[in-house]
């Protein structure tokens, strides 16, 4: 029993500490502090490649940083712990305040202290008229205030008006904090039920892609509840892609003309056109399609010794974001029947690996690119024959050959050449490799976040609440009207600024002049 009591006391104390202002402040600080590594250390969620680079460069400290989740700050246990505690502290702080606010909204303004002269602002006036008339006049002029009148004295000959305003301040404050909670919840819901996928589509009017399953994407980031079975189907094909550049190579505009199908259009097989641009995503119901990047997909035609050809266009990775010098690989399977059996065929696959420049610039034989537009496309390639790795059962990189295949002599270099568009090279067995040119590709992102609109709504109500709580000021005044010499009354006013008392002096004087317009000043006192 005693243990229970003690536990109860302990829990109560913990709760009180957690919901105190000091703790909230400390947690806010911790939150700011904890976010700092998120800005300074490379983050996996933003750029996994940079994290690997960092780990390679810092072999001692890197693994330790990884162990404390410094590369995944915003999903780390400690960041989560801080904001979860802040969340609890907020709820614990706000719930009683909400109840208190509701009570105060219902309550009548409090009775005046006995000695109004002890208030920060005080004034005594003499006015003509009787108590009832002056008190009624004061009440009438208290527009926008909550007020009540009490009768005091033995026969109720004294009227006392209590007035208060600025209730909206606390209301705004509570709205702000609850909206903050709503914002966090909306973000969490979006993270649970949302998904994001990227796919590269060559802009040559080709087949495009349909977002019916995660398999259709090159990369796919799903919320915890998304298993990929109920994606919103959208089909897209890209007819062309335009990019304008300044002579300096700085980009001016990117735009892709696409056709899309969604909803009923899928069954009716109607395509609708859209001009997909940066800053102009295609919004379809709850999904958004973005133009996120672009590059080039070179086309090669391989003519095998028996005269049959295979043509392939494969996206290469832009290595230089300014000049779009790209690198990649193309793997070509010989047509069936060119070689007598599957084993022989596998030994005669062709792989082309190298660099692509949209505008050729040669330094001796070294290829680089001088401009990002497709002015004078050229490639510098190594041509291999052998096992390209497609039949190894291992996943192969889209942009590089597996070096182990080359080390093991299963893939052998046949030639190293520079080719301009239309040029070709002949291997020793008569195979001809021709570089046909290149087509641009675009990187399309499909995003789905059902709670996004609620994030916006919460953010807006949050700001509205904040503005109200910063602009509205809480004021209390009391007016005591008591009979003086016949025909006149003594009016005593006292005022209190409950928040932000700068400028309250002038405000009080103006208020006094307004409330009792027909008065002679009997004495002003001010306490600082």
């Amino acid at each position: 029993m005693r243990v229970l009591k003690r536990l109860g006391a302990y829990a109560r104390n913990t709760w009180r500490t957690l919901t105190s202002m000091g703790t909230a402040l400390a947690l806010l600080f911790l939150l700011a502090l904890a976010a700092i590594p998120g800005a300074l250390v490379p983050q996996r969620s933003l750029n996994a490649g940079k994290v690997d680079e960092y780990l390679a460069e810092h072999p001692t400290i890197g693994p330790w940083l990884d162990r404390v989740q410094a590369f995944d700050v915003f999903s780390s246990f400690w960041f989560t712990a801080i904001y979860a505690l802040l969340f609890i502290s907020l709820v614990g702080c706000l719930t009683p305040r909400l109840a208190e606010h509701v009570r105060s909204m219902r309550a009548t303004p409090v009775a005046a202290p006995r000695n109004l002269a002890r208030l920060p602002k005080h004034q005594t006036l003499v006015a003509a008229g009787d108590v009832d008339a002056v008190a009624a006049g004061v009440q009438e002029r208290l527009k926008g205030w909550r007020h009540t009148t009490r009768r005091l004295g033995d026969d109720g000959e004294i009227a006392e008006v209590s007035a208060e305003k600025g209730y909206l301040r606390e209301f705004g404050n509570i709205v702000f904090h609850f909206s903050l909670l709503a914002l966090l919840i909306s973000i969490a819901v979006g993270k649970l039920f949302g998904y994001e996928g990227n796919v590269i589509v060559v802009a040559n009017g080709g087949p495009g892609f349909c977002s019916a399953s995660p398999a259709a994407f090159d990369s796919f980031r799903a919320g915890n509840t998304v298993d990929g079975t109920s994606l919103n189907p959208i089909c897209l094909r890209v007819n062309d892609f335009d990019a304008d550049y300044l002579p300096s190579g700085q980009a001016l505009s990117f735009a892709a003309n696409v056709d899309y199908q969604a909803g009923d259009d899928l069954t009716a097989d109607t395509w609708r056109p859209y001009r997909l641009e940066v800053n102009h995503p295609l919004r379809l119901g709850g999904d958004r399609l973005y133009l996120q990047g672009h590059g080039y997909a070179p086309t090669f035609t391989v003519t095998f010794p028996d005269g049959r050809t295979r043509t392939q266009t494969v996206q290469w990775r832009p290595d230089d974001p300014i000049t779009l010098l790209s690198s990649g690989v193309i793997r070509v399977d010989p047509p069936a029947g060119t070689y007598p059996d599957a084993g022989e065929r596998r030994k005669n696959q062709i792989a082309i690996q190298g660099l692509f420049a949209p505008t050729e610039q040669l330094d001796g034989k070294l290829l680089s690119s001088s401009f990002p537009a497709l002015r004078d496309p050229a490639v510098a390639i190594d041509v291999y024959r052998g096992d390209t790795g497609l039949d190894t059962g291992r996943p192969q990189s889209l942009f590089t050959l597996d070096p182990r295949l080359i080390e093991q002599k299963r893939l052998n270099k046949q030639a190293r050449v520079n080719l301009k568009a239309g040029q070709s090279t002949r291997l020793n067995d008569g195979t001809v490799i021709r570089f046909d040119g290149a087509a641009p590709f675009i990187n399309v992102q499909v995003s789905h976040d059902p709670a996004q609109i609620w994030v916006l709504v919460s953010a807006m109500t949050m700001m509205a609440g904040l503005l109200v709580s910063l602009v509205v000021r809480r004021r209390r005044i009391w007016v005591r009207v008591s009979p003086a010499s016949p025909g006149t009354v003594e009016v005593e006013l006292g005022g209190l600024a409950r928040t932000d008392n700068s400028g309250w002096g002038d405000e009080f004087e103006k208020l006094t002049a307004r409330l009792v317009p027909s008065a002679n000043e009997a004495g002003v006192s001010e306490r600082r």
Partner: protein
């Protein structure tokens, strides 16, 4: 977009206005510093003299022809007033520089770091001109001009970029909204940060009245601690929602341009940190035991976060906001 037109002539005039701004503000700073360093204690007496004379005129208004010699203003005060006038001239020049950039490029003139810093400094100067409009605050101007001039010098020397159109990601109607609101918030926070730093100086042993030493003498000439604290608080509560809106507008734009409203990009992260720090400041102001110095320290930390976000994040860390036209 068909062929961007850059008016090179206007761009050159804009650059000229920028150089003039710096020169004018440097002179203004010197004049204000002279006043701050050399004004004697005589000023208080001089003030009373003026009022005494003034009331004499008012009382004798019935009698015509009474000419009262208004005593000449003290030299240091005149220097200070000249300095303040130059501050206004410099602010106007900076506005000219910004407007001409916009006209030269036919877009809003805040598309790279150089232009953004110019706009932020302009907002800071305007915020200071509004907050410090009373003559007794003139002593604070030197401390506002100092960071503004450092920012402008860094911007002109290292971050300058030629007038040019902006990259596709910035071609949005959100560019004028997001960047200008963030600039305004940053400029207001600059005034708040300076006020809090001066408040801390005033509260430190250096601010003790009667302490000998040049620095102590300068600090003694600042407005009292309570006034400085009030300036810091009022500018912060003005800047806080503005900066908050700036971040939210940024998020709305990010949803349109980058495919997500928030992605912990370094700039977003530090903006979040700064916002949390300023929120902590506001909470500290209403927590017993935190009101004075601790709150002021928090405000200074917020200001440091803003400056860090401006320079370090844009210039050193690579992120989506690395459009600075540098590096």
């Amino acid at each position: 977009m068909n062929g961007p037109h850059i008016d090179v002539g206007l761009a050159r005039y804009s650059d000229l206005a920028f150089t003039s701004t710096i020169i004018v503000l440097v002179i203004a700073l010197l004049l204000l510093a002279v006043e701050l360093a050399y004004s004697g204690s005589r000023r208080a007496d001089a003030r009373e003299l003026v009022t005494a004379n003034g009331s004499t005129v008012a009382a004798d208004s019935g009698t015509p022809g009474v000419v009262v010699d208004v005593p000449k203003r003290l030299v240091d005060e005149r220097i200070g007033r000249a300095g303040l006038a130059l501050v206004y001239v410099g602010t106007a020049m900076l506005l000219v520089c910004i407007v001409l950039r916009g006209l030269a490029t036919s877009r809003v003139p805040w598309g790279n770091m150089y232009e953004f810093i110019n706009l932020t400094c302009f907002c800071g100067l305007v915020a200071a001109a509004v907050t410090l409009r009373r003559p007794k605050f003139r002593a604070l101007w030197a401390f506002v001009l100092l960071p503004v001039l450092i920012l402008l010098a860094v911007s002109g020397k290292w971050l300058y970029s030629n007038a040019a159109p902006v990259m596709p990601a910035l071609q949005s109607y959100w560019l004028p909204i997001h960047v200008s609101v963030v600039s305004l918030g940053s400029g207001v926070f600059l005034v708040a940060g300076v006020a809090s730093m001066l408040f801390l100086a005033k509260m430190s042993p250096l601010g003790d009245p009667g302490r000998p030493g040049r620095l102590a003498a300068v600090i003694a000439r600042l407005p009292d601690a309570q006034t400085l604290d009030r300036i810091a608080y009022r500018t912060t509560i003005f800047g806080f929602p503005i900066f908050g809106f700036g971040v939210i507008f940024g998020a709305i734009w990010a949803e349109e341009a980058w495919g997500r409203y928030w992605g912990w990009d370094p700039k977003e992260t530090v903006a979040f940190i700064a916002w949390v720090v300023y929120a902590a400041y506001l909470h500290a102001r209403s927590t017993a035991g935190w009101r004075d110095r601790k709150a002021a320290y928090i405000n200074v930390v917020g200001f440091v976060a803003m400056v860090f976000n401006l320079f370090f994040i844009n210039l050193v860390v690579t992120g989506l906001h690395s459009y600075a036209g540098v590096g």
